[in-house]
């Protein structure tokens, strides 16, 4: 199997997951698709090095997060995403869902990335620092600040999530 075929096989298998992660970061499916495509392009260009890594999926995610943070400087990343029409579901879960997503969206991009890596991807502080190219002290301090901010934003019934 050629490098291109190997890459295509990996990308097909993980593109959806990468796009989901990208969506959590940017809250825009179309932008998430662009970010995913950019990340896959960079992964393709670094494929020979990537396949030597211990965890290819983590490597791809690392590229994705860096693509997202690079993108934060672009004007489009700060443009307000038009509201998405959501069909009403069960009232409680609807409120819960919107509250958490909105709260995350109100964090600065880098802090949002830290929270997602720490609490959704379950990365260690050191691994987050490696992915985002930050000192561990910054990761710790920003995590504390982000959680405090989320506590302020979230509804009372969700505060239990933070112990």
């Amino acid at each position: 199997m050629t490098d291109d075929e190997q890459f295509a096989e990996f990308a097909q298998a993980h593109a959806e997951r990468l796009r989901t992660t990208a969506f959590m970061l940017c809250r825009d499916w179309h932008l998430a698709q662009d970010l995913t495509q950019n990340a896959l392009t960079k992964l393709f260009l670094n494929w020979r090095r990537a396949v030597q890594s211990d965890n290819l999926v983590a490597y791809a995610q690392k590229i994705l997060f860096r693509v997202f943070l690079d993108h934060r400087r672009l004007r489009s990343s700060s443009e307000t995403t038009p509201g998405v029409l959501r069909e009403p579901v069960h009232r409680e879960s609807h409120e819960l869902r919107l509250t958490m997503l909105d709260a995350l969206a109100r964090l600065p991009e880098r802090d949002r990335a830290i929270v997602i890596l720490r609490y959704f991807e379950d990365y260690s502080v050191e691994r987050v620092a490696d992915v985002l190219d930050l000192p561990t002290t910054v990761v710790k301090s920003q995590t504390r600040r982000s959680l405090a901010k989320l506590r302020e934003l979230l509804a009372e019934d969700q505060l239990a999530l933070f112990g």
């Binding site: 291109d4 989901t20 969506f23 393709f44 670094n46 672009l74 700060s78 579901v89 609490y119 930050l134």
Partner: protein, 288 residues
């Protein structure tokens, strides 16, 4: 907590209705191959230019520097360090150590004018003895030093970030079009006692040809963890393609010398801090 948050996020994502994924893999493959072709063409061109430059330089003089001034290619980051990095980096001339003052910071290291697209090297910039007790760096001091270290040109719109590491930016126009220059200061954590600052910075240079807002990024890391990140843009537009894209406002050599200046740090000359805060006291926060 982690499990609860993860479960909540998963539940939210399950309620989303994403559009079809489309052919992102095919598009990534096509883009990747196109970039590869462009890189190969660039390498051929750069090789030709480099050969001519080498022959010209060799005909003038070749004075090997002392061992401590050797520029050594080092691996910094697995994503940044090129797989095809040159096995041996060029040598630099000895750094001339001289007293420094704001606005006249000497550089002794010889830095190659151009380098491969992604590369690392060690720059011996020397040490800097602060005049007085070093003071905690401020955005004002950073902007003051930055504007003093920049080459001649019109510097405007100084600004700083309101969160995160110390970060400043300024627009520079040297006559060929404006470009944004951003500089960020940080210090990485160390496992044991923090080592001395040292006199040699590991400098990583990376190009982003598709992003004119930061076409070249130079990251200078010192033994004590001090990290200086300099981004050189070739346009003012916050989105590539939205505005005119001119030549870089700093050459690679200028950017490397600026980022590896020993005066950058989380503590700086008290004089720099005082003058900088006075001159750039109330800095605006740039609108993204």
């Amino acid at each position: 907590m982690t499990e609860d948050l993860r479960a909540l996020l998963r539940a939210e994502l399950n309620d989303e209705r994403p559009p079809p994924l489309g052919d992102v893999v095919g598009a990534a493959l096509r883009d990747g191959r196109r970039i590869q072709r462009r890189r190969r063409a660039g390498l051929v061109l750069a090789g030709s230019v480099g050969l001519v430059g080498f022959l010209l330089a060799g005909s003038v003089a070749l004075v090997p520097g002392p061992r401590s001034d050797q520029l050594a290619a080092e691996s910094v980051d697995e994503l940044i360090t090129p797989a095809a990095a040159p096995p041996e980096a060029p040598r630099a001339q000895a750094a001339a150590k001289a007293p420094v003052s704001p606005g006249s910071v000497p550089f002794g290291s010889a830095v190659p004018e151009t380098l491969a697209p992604q590369r690392s090297l060690a720059i011996r910039s020397g040490t800097h003895d602060a005049a007085g007790t070093p003071t905690k760096a401020t955005a004002g001091a950073m902007l003051y030093l930055l504007t003093k270290l920049l080459p001649a040109g019109a510097a405007s719109k100084p600004a700083t970030a309101d969160t995160g590491p110390l970060s400043v930016e300024v627009i520079l126009d040297r006559g060929a079009g404006p470009g944004t220059i951003r500089l960020e200061l940080d210090q990485a954590a160390t496992a044991g006692p923090r080592p001395a600052r040292g006199d040699t910075a590991t400098v990583t240079v990376a190009d982003f040809p598709d992003d004119c807002t930061r076409s070249t990024t130079v990251t200078s890391r010192w033994p004590d963890g001090t990290t200086v990140r300099l981004e050189v843009g070739t346009c003012l537009a916050l989105k590539s393609g939205d505005g005119p894209d001119g030549p870089p406002v700093l050459s690679q050599k200028e950017a490397i010398l600026l980022a590896s200046n020993p005066r950058w740090g989380l503590t700086m000359d008290p004089e720099l801090v005082a003058v900088g805060d006075k001159q750039f006291g109330a800095l605006p926060v740039p609108t993204p």
